[in-house]
């Protein structure tokens, strides 16, 4: 994921955010459900760009750089494809300038 919008690459954009990455993922995606999802809204709506469509029509998900906003589970069209929770206490994103 190295799309450029304006002057900042996405990688660069996320490198400025502080994350305390937990060992266990706090979001699990049931990619079997995603295969039958025609909209895949999560792919473009997630502000952290964490959902990547695979060649087989599923979704590859990375939880490490999650803002914990909730957009994905609210917008998920695939029934219960996204099992979402907050990370364990003290883990996850730490905003300094929010």
């Amino acid at each position: 994921m190295n799309q450029r919008y304006g002057d900042v690459s996405f990688e660069d954009r996320m490198s400025h955010v502080d994350f305390r990455v937990a060992e266990q993922p706090h979001i699990v995606v049931d990619t079997d459900v995603c295969r039958s999802c025609t909209t895949k809204t999560c792919v473009h709506a997630c502000p952290a760009n964490l959902f990547v469509p695979t060649a087989e029509g599923g979704i590859l998900f990375n939880y490490e750089q999650c803002f914990e906003c909730g957009t994905c589970y609210l917008m998920c069209d695939g029934g219960n494809a996204i099992s979402w929770s907050y990370p364990d206490g003290g883990q996850g994103v730490v905003f300094r300038h929010g």
Binding site: H44, M75, Y86, G89, F95, H97
Partner: protein
């Protein structure tokens, strides 16, 4: 695996605790939670203030300005100690259309002097400061701890929360849910029906470093004075708006995007933001500024008609958890509503605890109704719908820019046309019927009146 809080989590049934560990548990050390905990602790009640982040504010993002008037009541003299970036002395509302923009620019130097009006701040600093006051008053701050479930008796009374710590059940006589826009606790209590996605927006924000002197020059301010710019017509057809405000040596620029509109658009949020930063009215302000943080958060923008029930059996809901952000176009406020609702929740809980009658928790709603918290929301209940309507979002910025451009484009030797004729022409060009314009003006007057 530890217990977790999410849309699928549910309350657990427990036996009524014989001796609750705390008088009150407040979940979430944001502005609502800390205000609630502060009021309770001051009244002499034992309070646990739970925060899922490593410190208060670490999970929080906002879009601009903290209006401090409610702090006069909570923390007298607050403005001499609150961590402030800049005091807003200049406030702009900007309508953007294509390469054009029309700005209403207001300045008041008195807003830069005590008792002040609004300030920009970093939430990591502001929330931490407010939570510190709750702690000083005697509240026990418990950071890095997620409240995963409500503890509920068979008769349905809330008597505490389960946390994600080992043996993490905490019991109390009253629970105040200030757990933010996703509020899984209010949902577990069944207080939050309805389609949340329909009235929730996504805020994305870049914090950009720029020397303080450069900010002063570009924005026409000096010292601790700052600027807040609210924008309409910069979201590429997605219902929402934009903001840009000054901190000491950074700028915060961001967008608020309706979730459903964003889904339909197929656009990425930072792509829409990059386009805003390229606008000829914005680009010279942010030019050369270095990204120091990118952030995102959901915002409950539906207003009064989309609020959950605010009182449950042994439970109160405040702040974003109660959808108390005011997104009424010309007024965009949230932190003050969070502090206000938290303060009144703390007072209602305090009274109930002191009298031993938990039924007194119901007085919370009355306290909110007789204050700005629900009075403003009720008065402006139609405003979010109007502001996010297709005409206001997609046609009026163009209409206004057309009108102003036609007025000030000198077409000599042709004589000047009358303003009424120009208005009709601008309306027609943007697909707006005069009847619709009149009706929206009336709705606007009614909702903002």
């Amino acid at each position: 695996m530890r217990d977790r809080a999410g849309p699928a989590s549910s309350a657990v049934t427990v036996a009524e605790p014989e001796r609750p560990q705390f008088d009150a548990i407040v979940v979430g050390a944001g502005p609502a939670g800390s205000a609630a905990a502060l009021e309770l602790a001051r009244a002499g009640h034992s309070v646990a203030l739970l925060e899922r982040g490593p410190f208060p504010g670490s999970k929080n993002v906002y879009g601009g300005v903290v209006y401090g008037r409610i702090l006069d009541e909570l923390i007298p003299g607050w403005y001499d100690e609150m961590p402030v970036q800049r005091w807003v002395t200049r406030r702009q509302t900007m309508l953007l259309d294509g390469e054009r923009s029309m700005t209403v620019d207001f300045r008041s130097q008195s807003w830069g002097r005590a008792p002040y009006n609004g300030a920009t701040t970093y939430r990591a600093e502001f929330d931490d400061w407010l939570a510190g006051h709750a702690q000083k008053a005697g509240a026990v701050l418990v950071p890095s701890t997620v409240a995963t479930r409500l503890l509920r008796t068979e008769r349905g009374r809330i008597v505490g929360v389960r946390t994600d710590r080992p043996d993490g059940d905490l019991t109390a006589k009253v629970v105040i849910a200030c757990d933010g826009v996703n509020s899984f606790l209010a949902k577990q209590a069944g207080l939050f029906p309805g389609d949340q996605a329909a009235h929730t927006t996504l805020g994305v924000k870049e914090t950009l470093a720029l020397p303080a002197r450069t900010i002063d020059e570009r924005f026409g301010v000096s010292g601790h004075e700052g600027v807040d710019i609210e924008m309409l017509g910069c979201t590429q057809g997605i219902p929402g708006g934009g903001f840009l405000y000054t901190n000491s040596d950074t700028l915060s620029v961001g967008l608020v995007l309706g979730l459903q509109g964003l889904a339909k658009s197929g656009k990425r949020p930072e792509e829409v933001l990059a386009e805003l930063k390229r606008h000829p009215s914005i680009q010279p302000l942010v030019r050369g500024a270095e990204l120091v943080e990118y952030s995102a958060h959901l915002i409950p923008e539906g207003g009064y008609d989309t609020m959950p029930q605010l009182v449950g059996d042994g439970l109160l809901v405040a702040g974003d958890a109660a959808a108390m952000c005011l997104a009424a176009g010309i007024w965009l406020e949230g932190v003050n509503f969070a502090m206000g609702s938290g303060m009144y929740a703390g007072r209602a809980a305090s009274k109930a605890l002191s009298s031993g009658d938990l039924g007194a928790l119901r007085e919370y709603r009355g306290l909110l109704e007789s204050s700005f918290v629900l009075a403003d929301h009720k008065k402006l209940r139609k405003a979010p719908e109007l502001v996010l309507s297709e005409r206001v979002q997609q046609r009026y910025p163009g209409l206004v820019c057309d009108l102003v451009e036609l007025m000030f484009t000198v077409e000599n030797p042709k004589p000047k046309p009358g303003v009424r004729k120009l208005l009709r022409a601008s309306a027609k060009r943007n697909g707006v019927k005069m009847r619709e314009l009149a009706r929206d003006a009336l709705t606007g007057l009614r909702s903002f009146g």
